[in-house]
Symmetry: C2
Protein backbone atom coordinates (compact mmCIF):
# COMPACT_ATOMS: atom_id res chain seq x y z
CA UNK A 1 0.00 0.00 0.00
CA UNK A 2 1.49 3.35 -0.98
CA UNK A 3 1.95 5.90 1.76
CA UNK A 4 -0.58 8.01 -0.12
CA UNK A 5 -3.17 5.35 0.65
CA UNK A 6 -1.90 4.85 4.18
CA UNK A 7 -2.79 8.48 4.72
CA UNK A 8 -6.26 7.79 3.43
CA UNK A 9 -6.67 5.08 6.03
CA UNK A 10 -6.33 7.70 8.74
CA UNK A 11 -9.69 9.13 7.76
CA UNK A 12 -11.22 5.96 9.07
CA UNK A 13 -9.06 5.33 12.12
CA UNK A 14 -11.06 5.89 15.26
CA UNK A 15 -10.89 4.44 18.73
CA UNK A 16 -12.72 1.14 18.76
CA UNK A 17 -13.51 0.65 22.43
CA UNK A 18 -15.57 -2.48 21.82
CA UNK A 19 -12.63 -4.33 20.22
CA UNK A 20 -9.78 -5.97 22.10
CA UNK A 21 -7.55 -4.70 19.29
CA UNK A 22 -8.67 -2.28 16.57
CA UNK A 23 -7.19 -0.98 13.34
CA UNK A 24 -3.41 -1.20 12.95
CA UNK A 25 -2.41 -4.84 13.35
CA UNK A 26 -2.63 -7.79 10.96
CA UNK A 27 -6.16 -8.42 12.22
CA UNK A 28 -8.58 -6.91 14.69
CA UNK A 29 -9.48 -8.88 17.80
CA UNK A 30 -12.98 -8.96 19.24
CA UNK A 31 -14.44 -10.85 22.14
CA UNK A 32 -17.95 -12.03 21.21
CA UNK A 33 -20.53 -11.87 23.97
CA UNK A 34 -21.17 -15.28 25.57
CA UNK A 35 -24.57 -16.71 24.63
CA UNK A 36 -24.79 -14.68 21.45
CA UNK A 37 -24.29 -15.79 17.89
CA UNK A 38 -22.47 -13.60 15.41
CA UNK A 39 -24.40 -12.45 12.35
CA UNK A 40 -22.07 -11.54 9.47
CA UNK A 41 -22.82 -10.09 6.07
CA UNK A 42 -20.94 -8.37 3.25
CA UNK A 43 -22.11 -6.04 0.50
CA UNK A 44 -20.11 -4.48 -2.29
CA UNK A 45 -21.18 -1.22 -3.97
CA UNK A 46 -19.67 -0.34 -7.34
CA UNK A 47 -19.80 2.97 -9.21
CA UNK A 48 -22.01 2.71 -12.28
CA UNK A 49 -23.74 -0.43 -10.99
CA UNK A 50 -25.09 0.68 -7.61
CA UNK A 51 -24.71 4.45 -7.70
CA UNK A 52 -24.04 7.21 -10.17
CA UNK A 53 -20.38 8.17 -10.48
CA UNK A 54 -21.12 11.71 -9.27
CA UNK A 55 -23.04 10.58 -6.19
CA UNK A 56 -22.53 12.70 -3.11
CA UNK A 57 -19.70 11.12 -1.05
CA UNK A 58 -21.40 11.70 2.34
CA UNK A 59 -24.47 9.87 1.04
CA UNK A 60 -22.28 7.05 -0.31
CA UNK A 61 -20.57 6.62 3.04
CA UNK A 62 -23.99 6.45 4.69
CA UNK A 63 -25.42 4.03 2.15
CA UNK A 64 -22.42 1.67 2.04
CA UNK A 65 -22.92 1.02 5.75
CA UNK A 66 -26.72 1.29 5.71
CA UNK A 67 -27.27 -1.55 3.25
CA UNK A 68 -25.12 -3.78 5.45
CA UNK A 69 -26.88 -2.71 8.65
CA UNK A 70 -30.16 -3.49 6.92
CA UNK A 71 -29.04 -7.10 6.53
CA UNK A 72 -28.45 -7.29 10.28
CA UNK A 73 -31.85 -5.69 10.94
CA UNK A 74 -33.42 -8.48 8.92
CA UNK A 75 -31.75 -11.05 11.20
CA UNK A 76 -32.81 -9.23 14.38
CA UNK A 77 -29.13 -8.71 15.22
CA UNK A 78 -27.50 -5.85 17.12
CA UNK A 79 -24.74 -4.28 15.00
CA UNK A 80 -21.30 -4.23 16.65
CA UNK A 81 -18.37 -4.05 14.21
CA UNK A 82 -17.64 -3.18 10.58
CA UNK A 83 -14.75 -3.54 8.13
CA UNK A 84 -14.48 -1.24 5.12
CA UNK A 85 -12.38 -2.01 2.06
CA UNK A 86 -12.13 0.83 -0.42
CA UNK A 87 -10.71 0.99 -3.92
CA UNK A 88 -10.26 4.57 -5.11
CA UNK A 89 -9.02 6.00 -8.41
CA UNK A 90 -6.96 8.56 -6.52
CA UNK A 91 -6.35 9.77 -3.00
CA UNK A 92 -8.83 12.65 -3.09
CA UNK A 93 -9.27 14.21 0.33
CA UNK A 94 -12.18 16.31 -0.87
CA UNK A 95 -14.05 13.07 -1.55
CA UNK A 96 -12.74 11.03 1.35
CA UNK A 97 -13.49 13.51 4.10
CA UNK A 98 -17.28 13.62 3.49
CA UNK A 99 -17.36 9.90 2.64
CA UNK A 100 -15.80 8.99 5.96
CA UNK A 101 -18.12 11.41 7.78
CA UNK A 102 -21.18 9.78 6.24
CA UNK A 103 -19.95 6.31 7.09
CA UNK A 104 -18.82 7.10 10.62
CA UNK A 105 -21.91 9.15 11.52
CA UNK A 106 -24.20 6.20 10.78
CA UNK A 107 -21.76 3.86 12.53
CA UNK A 108 -21.86 6.00 15.65
CA UNK A 109 -25.66 6.16 15.52
CA UNK A 110 -25.79 2.36 15.70
CA UNK A 111 -22.87 1.79 18.06
CA UNK A 112 -20.73 0.21 15.35
CA UNK A 113 -16.92 0.30 15.62
CA UNK A 114 -14.89 0.28 12.41
CA UNK A 115 -12.21 -2.32 13.23
CA UNK A 116 -10.50 -3.00 9.92
CA UNK A 117 -10.47 -3.08 6.17
CA UNK A 118 -8.21 -2.08 3.36
CA UNK A 119 -7.57 0.93 1.11
CA UNK A 120 -6.10 0.61 -2.33
CA UNK A 121 -5.93 2.23 -5.73
CA UNK A 122 -8.48 1.04 -8.28
CA UNK A 123 -11.87 1.74 -9.83
CA UNK A 124 -14.23 3.05 -7.12
CA UNK A 125 -15.47 0.13 -5.04
CA UNK A 126 -16.98 0.13 -1.54
CA UNK A 127 -16.85 -3.24 0.15
CA UNK A 128 -18.23 -3.52 3.68
CA UNK A 129 -18.41 -6.44 6.07
CA UNK A 130 -20.74 -6.03 9.04
CA UNK A 131 -20.82 -8.07 12.24
CA UNK A 132 -23.60 -8.09 14.78
CA UNK A 133 -24.77 -10.20 17.66
CA UNK A 134 -28.05 -11.99 18.16
CA UNK A 135 -29.27 -14.20 20.98
CA UNK A 136 -28.29 -17.79 20.12
CA UNK A 137 -30.95 -19.66 18.17
CA UNK A 138 -33.29 -16.68 17.90
CA UNK A 139 -32.25 -14.97 14.67
CA UNK A 140 -34.97 -14.14 12.13
CA UNK A 141 -34.33 -16.41 9.16
CA UNK A 142 -35.78 -16.47 5.68
CA UNK A 143 -36.75 -20.11 5.99
CA UNK A 144 -38.90 -19.76 9.10
CA UNK A 145 -42.25 -18.61 7.66
CA UNK A 146 -45.29 -20.77 8.50
CA UNK A 147 -48.59 -21.23 6.72
CA UNK A 148 -51.15 -18.82 8.13
CA UNK A 149 -48.55 -16.23 9.17
CA UNK A 150 -49.53 -12.63 8.55
CA UNK A 151 -47.14 -10.77 6.25
CA UNK A 152 -45.96 -7.36 7.43
CA UNK A 153 -43.98 -4.54 5.90
CA UNK A 154 -42.31 -1.69 7.79
CA UNK A 155 -42.34 1.96 6.74
CA UNK A 156 -43.42 2.74 3.21
CA UNK A 157 -42.65 1.40 -0.23
CA UNK A 158 -41.73 2.82 -3.60
CA UNK A 159 -40.16 6.07 -2.46
CA UNK A 160 -36.60 5.10 -3.40
CA UNK A 161 -37.71 3.87 -6.83
CA UNK A 162 -39.54 7.13 -7.47
CA UNK A 163 -36.49 9.04 -6.30
CA UNK A 164 -34.35 7.19 -8.81
CA UNK A 165 -36.83 7.99 -11.61
CA UNK A 166 -36.61 11.64 -10.64
CA UNK A 167 -32.80 11.51 -10.53
CA UNK A 168 -32.64 9.92 -13.98
CA UNK A 169 -34.97 12.58 -15.38
CA UNK A 170 -37.68 10.04 -16.17
CA UNK A 171 -40.12 11.94 -13.95
CA UNK A 172 -40.13 15.36 -12.38
CA UNK A 173 -41.31 15.83 -8.80
CA UNK A 174 -42.02 19.04 -6.89
CA UNK A 175 -39.06 19.98 -4.64
CA UNK A 176 -40.46 18.76 -1.33
CA UNK A 177 -41.49 15.38 -2.69
CA UNK A 178 -38.28 15.05 -4.67
CA UNK A 179 -36.29 15.66 -1.50
CA UNK A 180 -38.27 13.02 0.39
CA UNK A 181 -37.82 10.39 -2.33
CA UNK A 182 -34.14 11.18 -2.86
CA UNK A 183 -33.53 10.89 0.87
CA UNK A 184 -35.07 7.41 0.75
CA UNK A 185 -32.79 6.50 -2.11
CA UNK A 186 -29.60 8.04 -0.78
CA UNK A 187 -29.84 7.67 2.96
CA UNK A 188 -31.83 4.55 3.75
CA UNK A 189 -32.52 4.04 7.47
CA UNK A 190 -31.78 0.46 8.52
CA UNK A 191 -34.59 -0.86 10.73
CA UNK A 192 -32.32 -2.13 13.48
CA UNK A 193 -34.58 -1.22 16.42
CA UNK A 194 -37.56 -2.92 14.80
CA UNK A 195 -35.57 -6.05 13.94
CA UNK A 196 -34.39 -6.38 17.53
CA UNK A 197 -37.95 -6.06 18.83
CA UNK A 198 -39.25 -8.68 16.40
CA UNK A 199 -37.14 -11.43 18.00
CA UNK A 200 -39.57 -13.91 19.49
CA UNK A 201 -42.50 -12.26 17.68
CA UNK A 202 -41.75 -12.72 13.97
CA UNK A 203 -41.02 -15.99 12.21
CA UNK A 204 -39.25 -15.06 8.96
CA UNK A 205 -37.76 -11.71 7.97
CA UNK A 206 -35.89 -10.15 5.06
CA UNK A 207 -34.93 -6.63 4.11
CA UNK A 208 -36.38 -5.17 0.93
CA UNK A 209 -33.42 -4.30 -1.27
CA UNK A 210 -34.53 -5.70 -4.64
CA UNK A 211 -38.27 -4.99 -4.32
CA UNK A 212 -41.02 -6.52 -2.19
CA UNK A 213 -41.97 -9.32 -4.58
CA UNK A 214 -38.40 -10.43 -5.19
CA UNK A 215 -37.49 -10.37 -1.52
CA UNK A 216 -40.73 -11.87 -0.23
CA UNK A 217 -40.10 -14.46 -2.95
CA UNK A 218 -36.88 -15.45 -1.15
CA UNK A 219 -38.84 -16.11 2.05
CA UNK A 220 -41.41 -18.19 0.14
CA UNK A 221 -38.74 -20.15 -1.68
CA UNK A 222 -36.69 -20.88 1.43
CA UNK A 223 -39.79 -21.65 3.49
CA UNK A 224 -41.40 -23.68 0.67
CA UNK A 225 -44.69 -21.81 0.99
CA UNK A 226 -46.87 -19.32 -0.91
CA UNK A 227 -48.51 -15.99 -0.14
CA UNK A 228 -51.51 -13.79 -0.82
CA UNK A 229 -50.87 -10.04 -0.92
CA UNK A 230 -53.72 -7.52 -0.61
CA UNK A 231 -52.61 -4.73 -2.90
CA UNK A 232 -54.84 -2.14 -1.20
CA UNK A 233 -52.89 -2.65 2.03
CA UNK A 234 -49.47 -1.83 0.56
CA UNK A 235 -48.01 1.16 2.44
CA UNK A 236 -47.23 3.39 -0.52
CA UNK A 237 -44.89 6.31 0.03
CA UNK A 238 -47.00 9.49 -0.18
CA UNK A 239 -45.53 10.79 -3.47
CA UNK A 240 -45.92 7.33 -4.99
CA UNK A 241 -49.62 7.34 -4.15
CA UNK A 242 -50.22 10.92 -5.24
CA UNK A 243 -48.00 11.28 -8.31
CA UNK A 244 -48.23 7.90 -10.00
CA UNK A 245 -51.11 6.13 -11.65
CA UNK A 246 -52.26 2.92 -9.97
CA UNK A 247 -50.25 0.60 -12.17
CA UNK A 248 -47.04 2.62 -11.88
CA UNK A 249 -47.53 3.02 -8.14
CA UNK A 250 -47.93 -0.73 -7.71
CA UNK A 251 -44.84 -1.33 -9.79
CA UNK A 252 -42.80 1.05 -7.61
CA UNK A 253 -44.09 -0.58 -4.42
CA UNK A 254 -43.77 -4.20 -5.57
CA UNK A 255 -40.69 -4.12 -7.76
CA UNK A 256 -38.86 -0.94 -6.76
CA UNK A 257 -35.63 -1.65 -4.95
CA UNK A 258 -33.59 0.28 -2.41
CA UNK A 259 -36.36 0.89 0.14
CA UNK A 260 -34.52 -1.14 2.82
CA UNK A 261 -37.68 -1.73 4.81
CA UNK A 262 -38.31 -5.05 6.54
CA UNK A 263 -40.76 -7.67 5.27
CA UNK A 264 -41.59 -10.23 7.94
CA UNK A 265 -44.09 -12.89 8.83
CA UNK A 266 -45.68 -13.66 12.20
CA UNK A 267 -48.59 -15.65 13.62
CA UNK A 268 -51.85 -13.79 12.96
CA UNK A 269 -52.68 -13.53 16.68
CA UNK A 270 -49.59 -11.45 17.36
CA UNK A 271 -50.82 -8.38 15.51
CA UNK A 272 -51.20 -6.26 18.64
CA UNK A 273 -47.75 -7.21 19.94
CA UNK A 274 -46.21 -6.40 16.57
CA UNK A 275 -47.89 -3.03 16.41
CA UNK A 276 -46.63 -2.31 19.92
CA UNK A 277 -43.07 -3.38 18.97
CA UNK A 278 -43.17 -1.18 15.89
CA UNK A 279 -44.48 1.77 17.88
CA UNK A 280 -41.68 1.30 20.40
CA UNK A 281 -39.18 1.21 17.53
CA UNK A 282 -40.71 4.34 16.02
CA UNK A 283 -41.55 2.71 12.67
CA UNK A 284 -45.02 2.21 11.18
CA UNK A 285 -45.94 -1.30 10.05
CA UNK A 286 -48.66 -2.58 7.74
CA UNK A 287 -50.15 -6.05 7.45
CA UNK A 288 -50.31 -6.75 3.72
CA UNK A 289 -51.40 -10.38 3.43
CA UNK A 290 -50.68 -13.86 4.66
CA UNK A 291 -48.61 -16.96 4.02
CA UNK A 292 -50.33 -19.89 2.30
CA UNK A 293 -49.49 -23.59 2.38
CA UNK A 294 -49.98 -23.63 -1.37
CA UNK A 295 -46.89 -22.44 -3.23
CA UNK A 296 -47.05 -19.36 -5.45
CA UNK A 297 -47.77 -15.71 -4.92
CA UNK A 298 -51.27 -14.26 -5.42
CA UNK A 299 -51.97 -10.54 -5.65
CA UNK A 300 -55.51 -9.58 -4.56
CA UNK A 301 -57.24 -6.37 -5.61
CA UNK A 302 -59.28 -4.13 -3.33
CA UNK A 303 -62.30 -6.45 -3.69
CA UNK A 304 -60.21 -9.49 -2.81
CA UNK A 305 -60.18 -10.77 -6.39
CA UNK A 306 -56.94 -12.34 -7.67
CA UNK A 307 -55.14 -10.13 -10.15
CA UNK A 308 -53.57 -12.38 -12.79
CA UNK A 309 -49.83 -11.96 -12.53
CA UNK A 310 -49.36 -11.77 -16.27
CA UNK A 311 -51.56 -8.69 -16.29
CA UNK A 312 -49.46 -6.98 -13.67
CA UNK A 313 -46.11 -7.51 -15.33
CA UNK A 314 -44.76 -9.02 -12.14
CA UNK A 315 -44.77 -12.66 -13.13
CA UNK A 316 -41.00 -12.56 -13.44
CA UNK A 317 -40.66 -11.45 -9.86
CA UNK A 318 -43.28 -13.78 -8.52
CA UNK A 319 -41.52 -16.79 -9.94
CA UNK A 320 -38.05 -15.97 -8.63
Amino acid sequence: MSSEFELIAKFFTRASPSARLGVGDDAALIAPTPGMELAISADMLVAGTHFLPDADPFDLGHKALAVNLSDLAAMGAQPRWALLSLALPQADEAWLAPFSRGFLALAAEHGVDLIGGDTTRGPLNLSVTILGEVEAGRALRRDAAQAGDAIWVSGELGGAALGLQHLLGERSLPPVEAAACLARLRRPQPRIALGRRLLGLAHACIDISDGLLADLGHILERSNLGAEIRLAELPLAAPVASRLGESQALRAALAGGDDYELCFTAPADRAAAIRAAAAAAGVPVACIGHITAEAGLKLLDAEGRPMPLHETGFDHFARR
Copy 2:
Protein backbone atom coordinates in the same frame (compact mmCIF):
# COMPACT_ATOMS: atom_id res chain seq x y z
CA MET B 1 -28.37 -8.49 -8.25
CA SER B 2 -29.14 -9.82 -11.71
CA SER B 3 -29.94 -13.50 -12.06
CA GLU B 4 -26.78 -13.77 -14.15
CA PHE B 5 -24.81 -12.88 -11.07
CA GLU B 6 -26.96 -15.03 -8.84
CA LEU B 7 -25.82 -17.94 -10.98
CA ILE B 8 -22.25 -16.93 -10.38
CA ALA B 9 -22.82 -17.10 -6.67
CA LYS B 10 -23.55 -20.79 -7.01
CA PHE B 11 -19.89 -21.39 -7.84
CA PHE B 12 -19.13 -20.48 -4.29
CA THR B 13 -22.03 -22.07 -2.47
CA ARG B 14 -20.84 -25.01 -0.43
CA ALA B 15 -22.08 -26.61 2.73
CA SER B 16 -20.69 -24.66 5.68
CA PRO B 17 -20.88 -27.17 8.52
CA SER B 18 -19.11 -24.87 10.97
CA ALA B 19 -21.74 -22.15 10.63
CA ARG B 20 -25.15 -22.13 12.29
CA LEU B 21 -26.44 -20.63 9.05
CA GLY B 22 -24.39 -20.33 5.86
CA VAL B 23 -24.84 -18.61 2.51
CA GLY B 24 -28.41 -17.76 1.48
CA ASP B 25 -29.90 -15.55 4.18
CA ASP B 26 -29.43 -11.86 4.95
CA ALA B 27 -26.43 -12.77 7.09
CA ALA B 28 -24.54 -15.88 8.11
CA LEU B 29 -24.70 -16.99 11.74
CA ILE B 30 -21.71 -18.40 13.56
CA ALA B 31 -21.24 -19.50 17.14
CA PRO B 32 -17.77 -18.43 18.32
CA THR B 33 -15.98 -20.90 20.56
CA PRO B 34 -16.14 -19.90 24.24
CA GLY B 35 -12.80 -18.63 25.57
CA MET B 36 -11.57 -17.65 22.14
CA GLU B 37 -11.27 -14.20 20.63
CA LEU B 38 -12.15 -13.59 17.00
CA ALA B 39 -9.39 -12.30 14.73
CA ILE B 40 -10.80 -10.49 11.69
CA SER B 41 -9.06 -9.01 8.69
CA ALA B 42 -9.97 -7.83 5.20
CA ASP B 43 -7.87 -7.45 2.06
CA MET B 44 -8.93 -6.17 -1.33
CA LEU B 45 -7.10 -7.19 -4.53
CA VAL B 46 -7.60 -5.07 -7.65
CA ALA B 47 -6.62 -5.88 -11.23
CA GLY B 48 -3.76 -3.68 -12.38
CA THR B 49 -2.78 -2.76 -8.83
CA HIS B 50 -2.21 -6.17 -7.22
CA PHE B 51 -2.13 -8.54 -10.16
CA LEU B 52 -1.81 -8.46 -13.93
CA PRO B 53 -5.16 -8.42 -15.75
CA ASP B 54 -4.34 -11.74 -17.46
CA ALA B 55 -3.39 -13.52 -14.23
CA ASP B 56 -4.42 -17.15 -14.01
CA PRO B 57 -7.83 -17.31 -12.28
CA PHE B 58 -6.99 -20.41 -10.20
CA ASP B 59 -3.93 -18.60 -8.85
CA LEU B 60 -6.00 -15.49 -8.15
CA GLY B 61 -8.54 -17.51 -6.18
CA HIS B 62 -5.70 -19.00 -4.17
CA LYS B 63 -3.95 -15.69 -3.59
CA ALA B 64 -7.08 -13.71 -2.66
CA LEU B 65 -7.61 -16.10 0.25
CA ALA B 66 -3.91 -16.70 0.98
CA VAL B 67 -3.09 -13.06 1.71
CA ASN B 68 -5.96 -12.97 4.20
CA LEU B 69 -4.97 -16.26 5.82
CA SER B 70 -1.46 -14.85 6.15
CA ASP B 71 -2.85 -12.04 8.31
CA LEU B 72 -4.39 -14.64 10.63
CA ALA B 73 -1.11 -16.59 10.70
CA ALA B 74 0.59 -13.42 11.91
CA MET B 75 -1.89 -13.22 14.82
CA GLY B 76 -1.46 -16.90 15.70
CA ALA B 77 -5.15 -17.44 14.91
CA GLN B 78 -6.84 -20.55 13.56
CA PRO B 79 -8.81 -19.69 10.39
CA ARG B 80 -12.51 -20.54 10.52
CA TRP B 81 -14.67 -18.51 8.13
CA ALA B 82 -14.38 -16.31 5.05
CA LEU B 83 -16.58 -13.91 3.08
CA LEU B 84 -15.83 -13.15 -0.56
CA SER B 85 -17.16 -10.12 -2.42
CA LEU B 86 -16.44 -10.12 -6.13
CA ALA B 87 -16.91 -7.46 -8.76
CA LEU B 88 -16.65 -8.89 -12.27
CA PRO B 89 -16.83 -7.23 -15.68
CA GLN B 90 -19.00 -10.09 -16.93
CA ALA B 91 -20.34 -13.44 -15.80
CA ASP B 92 -17.61 -15.53 -17.38
CA GLU B 93 -17.86 -19.16 -16.31
CA ALA B 94 -14.51 -20.00 -17.91
CA TRP B 95 -12.91 -17.57 -15.46
CA LEU B 96 -15.14 -18.24 -12.47
CA ALA B 97 -14.83 -22.01 -12.42
CA PRO B 98 -11.03 -22.04 -11.94
CA PHE B 99 -11.14 -18.98 -9.68
CA SER B 100 -13.58 -20.67 -7.32
CA ARG B 101 -11.55 -23.90 -7.41
CA GLY B 102 -8.39 -22.03 -6.41
CA PHE B 103 -10.19 -20.22 -3.59
CA LEU B 104 -12.07 -23.24 -2.27
CA ALA B 105 -9.10 -25.62 -2.48
CA LEU B 106 -7.06 -23.40 -0.16
CA ALA B 107 -10.10 -22.87 2.04
CA ALA B 108 -10.55 -26.62 2.42
CA GLU B 109 -6.86 -27.06 3.17
CA HIS B 110 -7.21 -24.72 6.13
CA GLY B 111 -10.68 -25.74 7.30
CA VAL B 112 -12.23 -22.43 6.26
CA ASP B 113 -15.94 -22.25 5.41
CA LEU B 114 -17.09 -19.62 2.93
CA ILE B 115 -20.15 -18.20 4.69
CA GLY B 116 -21.05 -15.11 2.71
CA GLY B 117 -20.15 -12.26 0.45
CA ASP B 118 -21.50 -10.57 -2.60
CA THR B 119 -21.20 -10.80 -6.37
CA THR B 120 -21.79 -7.86 -8.65
CA ARG B 121 -20.91 -6.39 -12.00
CA GLY B 122 -17.97 -3.99 -12.08
CA PRO B 123 -14.23 -3.69 -12.70
CA LEU B 124 -12.49 -6.84 -11.40
CA ASN B 125 -12.15 -6.61 -7.63
CA LEU B 126 -11.60 -9.39 -5.09
CA SER B 127 -12.53 -8.42 -1.56
CA VAL B 128 -12.12 -11.03 1.18
CA THR B 129 -12.88 -10.90 4.88
CA ILE B 130 -11.34 -13.64 6.99
CA LEU B 131 -12.32 -14.69 10.52
CA GLY B 132 -10.28 -16.90 12.80
CA GLU B 133 -10.13 -17.77 16.45
CA VAL B 134 -7.31 -17.34 18.92
CA GLU B 135 -7.09 -18.13 22.61
CA ALA B 136 -8.22 -15.01 24.50
CA GLY B 137 -5.41 -12.63 25.35
CA ARG B 138 -2.73 -14.67 23.57
CA ALA B 139 -2.72 -13.28 20.01
CA LEU B 140 0.63 -12.24 18.50
CA ARG B 141 0.49 -8.47 18.20
CA ARG B 142 2.76 -6.02 16.44
CA ASP B 143 3.21 -3.95 19.58
CA ALA B 144 4.52 -6.76 21.79
CA ALA B 145 8.24 -6.84 20.88
CA GLN B 146 10.69 -6.40 23.76
CA ALA B 147 14.26 -5.14 23.82
CA GLY B 148 16.66 -8.08 23.55
CA ASP B 149 14.19 -10.26 21.63
CA ALA B 150 15.68 -12.29 18.82
CA ILE B 151 14.17 -11.53 15.39
CA TRP B 152 13.14 -14.51 13.30
CA VAL B 153 11.94 -15.01 9.75
CA SER B 154 10.20 -18.10 8.39
CA GLY B 155 10.89 -19.73 5.04
CA GLU B 156 12.92 -17.75 2.55
CA LEU B 157 12.91 -14.23 1.21
CA GLY B 158 13.04 -12.55 -2.17
CA GLY B 159 11.59 -15.35 -4.26
CA ALA B 160 8.31 -13.59 -5.02
CA ALA B 161 10.12 -10.37 -5.95
CA LEU B 162 12.41 -12.26 -8.31
CA GLY B 163 9.39 -14.04 -9.78
CA LEU B 164 7.77 -10.68 -10.50
CA GLN B 165 10.95 -9.42 -12.20
CA HIS B 166 10.90 -12.53 -14.38
CA LEU B 167 7.21 -12.07 -15.16
CA LEU B 168 7.73 -8.44 -16.15
CA GLY B 169 10.66 -9.43 -18.42
CA GLU B 170 13.16 -7.48 -16.32
CA ARG B 171 15.15 -10.66 -15.76
CA SER B 172 15.15 -14.11 -17.34
CA LEU B 173 15.43 -17.22 -15.17
CA PRO B 174 15.98 -20.84 -16.19
CA PRO B 175 12.67 -22.77 -16.23
CA VAL B 176 13.03 -24.59 -12.91
CA GLU B 177 14.00 -21.48 -10.99
CA ALA B 178 11.38 -19.41 -12.78
CA ALA B 179 8.71 -21.93 -11.77
CA ALA B 180 9.83 -21.83 -8.14
CA CYS B 181 9.82 -18.04 -7.99
CA LEU B 182 6.50 -17.71 -9.82
CA ALA B 183 4.94 -20.22 -7.44
CA ARG B 184 6.05 -18.03 -4.54
CA LEU B 185 4.49 -15.02 -6.22
CA ARG B 186 1.25 -16.65 -7.34
CA ARG B 187 0.50 -19.21 -4.67
CA PRO B 188 1.86 -17.99 -1.38
CA GLN B 189 1.52 -20.48 1.48
CA PRO B 190 0.14 -18.82 4.60
CA ARG B 191 2.14 -19.94 7.65
CA ILE B 192 -0.87 -20.88 9.75
CA ALA B 193 0.66 -23.91 11.47
CA LEU B 194 3.72 -21.93 12.47
CA GLY B 195 1.66 -19.01 13.75
CA ARG B 196 -0.40 -21.32 15.94
CA ARG B 197 2.73 -22.91 17.42
CA LEU B 198 4.28 -19.53 18.16
CA LEU B 199 1.54 -18.66 20.68
CA GLY B 200 3.23 -18.42 24.06
CA LEU B 201 6.67 -18.49 22.44
CA ALA B 202 6.84 -15.37 20.28
CA HIS B 203 6.20 -11.81 21.44
CA ALA B 204 5.44 -9.79 18.28
CA CYS B 205 4.63 -11.08 14.82
CA ILE B 206 3.76 -9.73 11.37
CA ASP B 207 3.46 -11.24 7.93
CA ILE B 208 5.84 -10.00 5.23
CA SER B 209 3.65 -8.61 2.49
CA ASP B 210 5.41 -5.32 1.70
CA GLY B 211 9.00 -6.46 2.32
CA LEU B 212 10.93 -7.35 5.47
CA LEU B 213 12.14 -3.85 6.31
CA ALA B 214 8.75 -2.24 5.86
CA ASP B 215 6.93 -4.91 7.85
CA LEU B 216 9.53 -5.24 10.60
CA GLY B 217 9.33 -1.44 10.66
CA HIS B 218 5.66 -1.74 11.70
CA ILE B 219 6.68 -3.91 14.67
CA LEU B 220 9.38 -1.43 15.68
CA GLU B 221 7.05 1.53 15.34
CA ARG B 222 4.22 -0.06 17.30
CA SER B 223 6.59 -1.44 19.95
CA ASN B 224 8.61 1.80 20.10
CA LEU B 225 11.91 -0.07 19.72
CA GLY B 226 14.76 -0.55 17.23
CA ALA B 227 16.53 -3.51 15.65
CA GLU B 228 19.83 -4.80 14.35
CA ILE B 229 19.68 -7.13 11.35
CA ARG B 230 22.62 -9.36 10.37
CA LEU B 231 22.44 -9.37 6.59
CA ALA B 232 24.44 -12.60 6.29
CA GLU B 233 21.69 -14.42 8.18
CA LEU B 234 18.87 -13.48 5.81
CA PRO B 235 17.35 -16.67 4.39
CA LEU B 236 17.60 -15.86 0.70
CA ALA B 237 15.54 -17.92 -1.72
CA ALA B 238 17.99 -20.10 -3.67
CA PRO B 239 17.56 -18.35 -7.06
CA VAL B 240 17.93 -14.99 -5.33
CA ALA B 241 21.27 -16.06 -3.88
CA SER B 242 22.54 -17.69 -7.07
CA ARG B 243 21.23 -15.38 -9.80
CA LEU B 244 21.48 -11.92 -8.28
CA GLY B 245 24.48 -9.88 -7.25
CA GLU B 246 24.77 -9.12 -3.54
CA SER B 247 23.14 -5.72 -3.70
CA GLN B 248 20.20 -6.89 -5.82
CA ALA B 249 19.78 -9.99 -3.66
CA LEU B 250 19.63 -7.88 -0.51
CA ARG B 251 17.13 -5.59 -2.15
CA ALA B 252 14.88 -8.52 -3.06
CA ALA B 253 15.11 -9.97 0.45
CA LEU B 254 14.70 -6.70 2.35
CA ALA B 255 12.31 -4.77 0.15
CA GLY B 256 10.65 -7.39 -2.04
CA GLY B 257 7.00 -7.88 -1.21
CA ASP B 258 4.62 -10.80 -1.58
CA ASP B 259 6.71 -13.44 0.24
CA TYR B 260 4.04 -13.87 2.96
CA GLU B 261 6.50 -15.31 5.40
CA LEU B 262 6.28 -14.48 9.11
CA CYS B 263 8.65 -12.11 10.88
CA PHE B 264 8.48 -12.50 14.65
CA THR B 265 10.37 -11.69 17.82
CA ALA B 266 10.95 -13.87 20.86
CA PRO B 267 13.17 -13.96 23.95
CA ALA B 268 16.68 -15.07 22.99
CA ASP B 269 16.55 -18.10 25.30
CA ARG B 270 13.64 -19.62 23.40
CA ALA B 271 15.64 -20.43 20.26
CA ALA B 272 15.47 -24.19 20.75
CA ALA B 273 11.72 -24.13 21.39
CA ILE B 274 11.18 -21.98 18.32
CA ARG B 275 13.23 -24.29 16.13
CA ALA B 276 11.20 -27.21 17.46
CA ALA B 277 7.92 -25.40 16.78
CA ALA B 278 9.04 -24.56 13.25
CA ALA B 279 10.13 -28.15 12.62
CA ALA B 280 6.74 -29.38 13.83
CA ALA B 281 5.05 -26.88 11.50
CA GLY B 282 7.27 -28.01 8.62
CA VAL B 283 8.72 -24.55 7.97
CA PRO B 284 12.37 -23.51 8.28
CA VAL B 285 13.15 -20.46 10.41
CA ALA B 286 16.18 -18.22 10.62
CA CYS B 287 17.31 -15.89 13.39
CA ILE B 288 18.33 -12.67 11.65
CA GLY B 289 19.03 -10.20 14.42
CA HIS B 290 17.63 -8.73 17.60
CA ILE B 291 15.47 -5.96 18.98
CA THR B 292 17.22 -2.96 20.52
CA ALA B 293 15.97 -0.49 23.11
CA GLU B 294 17.37 2.28 20.93
CA ALA B 295 15.02 3.24 18.12
CA GLY B 296 16.08 2.84 14.49
CA LEU B 297 17.05 -0.06 12.29
CA LYS B 298 20.71 -1.04 11.76
CA LEU B 299 21.88 -3.41 9.05
CA LEU B 300 25.12 -5.27 9.89
CA ASP B 301 27.40 -6.82 7.28
CA ALA B 302 29.06 -10.23 7.56
CA GLU B 303 31.76 -8.79 9.84
CA GLY B 304 29.20 -7.19 12.09
CA ARG B 305 29.91 -3.67 10.81
CA PRO B 306 26.97 -1.32 10.38
CA MET B 307 26.12 -0.74 6.75
CA PRO B 308 25.00 2.87 6.36
CA LEU B 309 21.38 2.82 5.25
CA HIS B 310 21.95 5.54 2.68
CA GLU B 311 24.43 3.25 0.95
CA THR B 312 21.94 0.40 0.78
CA GLY B 313 19.13 2.38 -0.75
CA PHE B 314 16.78 1.19 1.99
CA ASP B 315 16.63 4.34 4.06
CA HIS B 316 13.10 4.94 2.82
CA PHE B 317 11.96 1.59 4.14
CA ALA B 318 13.91 1.82 7.36
CA ARG B 319 12.20 5.06 8.24
CA ARG B 320 8.64 3.94 7.53
